[in-house]
């Protein structure tokens, strides 16, 4: 297909006593070079358009408004999600932390959906409480769950002493480091 004609042309003069050289036709097939060229082009086309950074928006409420908001949460509609170390998730409904149940990031979605189906939309409020060993990735995952399950009202807060203590006890009981 692609070819270059590199055969020695008929430019040589026949000198005396020189044998006539055989004209060897050396045709170089350049198909692989063109293939590589196109491969490199497609590589650069794809990589130059992929450098846009993508972000997730986060809106936080003002700190001074939080106390007023807390009184508006109905006990029946409240779900508290606690996050501990080593990707552990715990949750409980209402106000009683002793009813803590443990879960994983895959199962928590079912729990959230169950809670959502059982409560009227205006009453549902999920509080996310990562403790000091929870990682950023855990928080982003839970925030994702909020978006995936279309939860309209949720807040991020710090666990109080009772909750933290219970989480510690559960972790010790299960031997999680």
């Amino acid at each position: 297909m692609a070819e270059l004609d590199t055969s020695s042309g008929g430019g040589h003069k026949k000198g005396p006593g020189v044998k006539k050289s055989k004209k060897l036709s050396t045709r170089v097939d350049l198909t692989p070079m063109v293939d590589l060229g196109f491969l490199l082009i497609t590589f650069f086309i794809f990589t130059t358009t992929l450098s846009q950074p993508t972000t997730m928006k986060l809106l936080m409420p003002k700190d001074d408004v939080q106390d007023k908001d807390l009184t508006k949460i109905k006990e029946s509609g409240s779900l508290i999600i606690l996050m501990g170390k080593a990707d552990q998730v715990y949750y409980y409904e209402g106000l009683d932390p002793t009813k803590l149940q443990s879960s994983t990031y895959t199962q928590i979605r079912d729990e959230i959906l169950k809670k959502k189906q059982n409560t009227p939309v205006d009453d549902l409020f999920i509080t996310i409480k990562p403790d000091k060993d929870a990682t950023y990735k855990n928080v982003v995952n839970i925030l994702d769950e909020m978006t995936i399950n279309d939860i309209k009202r949720y807040a991020i807060d710090n666990p109080n002493d009772v909750e933290y203590h219970l989480v510690q006890l559960t972790e010790q009981a299960h031997g999680i480091k």
């Binding site: 060229g37 450098s51 928006k57 060993d133 995952n141 978006t147």
Partner: protein, 220 residues
């Protein structure tokens, strides 16, 4: 005798032209490709289903938190850096020398507390690679980061439409560090942030998936 045999002529197409076009295109793309600046601090960001393309027109004040919980500030262009440094110096009442200021405007990263900034700027790039970077001090009231954010806000006349605050956290960074970064922002009355995340596919069958299928625009 019927002439059954038709003379077949070989058809060889001269591909020189196509080869030329291919190489022209290749050179164009090679020259217009911009390399990502080498990251001084390796951070692996989490993925999120709520990820959308960030607008590139506004200036970005990026706070990076690495997996040990150290915070660094990355300012996207030299224009911002000069303004922010200026305001920060006014705030703290300290002044950097002219050539160090110039060097500051050329580095994109602020990885040390203000007290060591001068020393850091005097290092050569090879020395920078070897020194451990302590990060900007953070604490539960925001730490030095709070002052940098104040300086950035003043540099933009408190107009949060012109500057976006982005948090680039590592997957394994512990939440209290992120919480301190958020406190630093909250003390400056900044409540809208963007978390740098890689896009993730929406799990099928969930509410969000159904919403997307119906083409309902997501509320921000």
């Amino acid at each position: 005798m019927a002439r059954a045999r038709i003379k077949r002529k070989g058809t060889s197409i001269d591909m020189t032209a196509m080869c030329d076009v291919a190489f022209l295109l290749l050179s164009f793309f090679i020259l217009t490709a911009q390399f990502k600046p080498a990251e001084a601090v390796p951070i692996s960001i989490p993925s999120s289903v709520a990820s959308k393309a960030a607008s590139l027109n506004t200036d970005a004040f990026v706070v990076s938190v690495d997996h040990d919980g150290k915070a660094y500030i990355e300012l996207s262009d030299p224009g911002i850096r000069a303004k922010v440094l200026n305001k920060f110096e006014q705030l703290k009442g300290i002044q950097l020398s002219a050539d160090l200021t110039k060097k500051f405007n050329n580095t994109s990263l602020i990885p040390v507390p203000y007290a060591s900034l001068q020393q850091y700027l005097e290092l050569t790039p090879e020395e920078v690679k070897k020194t451990p970077l302590p990060g900007i001090p953070l604490d539960t009231t925001g730490g030095e980061l709070r002052d940098w954010v104040t300086a950035a806000l003043q540099a933009y006349d408190n107009n949060t439409n012109d500057i976006h605050f982005i948090i680039k956290g590592d997957d394994e960074a512990k939440y209290p560090n992120i919480s301190n970064v958020l406190t630093a922002f909250k003390k400056n009355d900044v409540y809208k942030y963007q978390l740098l995340t890689t896009p993730e596919g929406v799990p099928p069958g969930t509410e969000l998936y159904k919403k997307n299928m119906q083409g309902i625009k997501q509320e921000d």
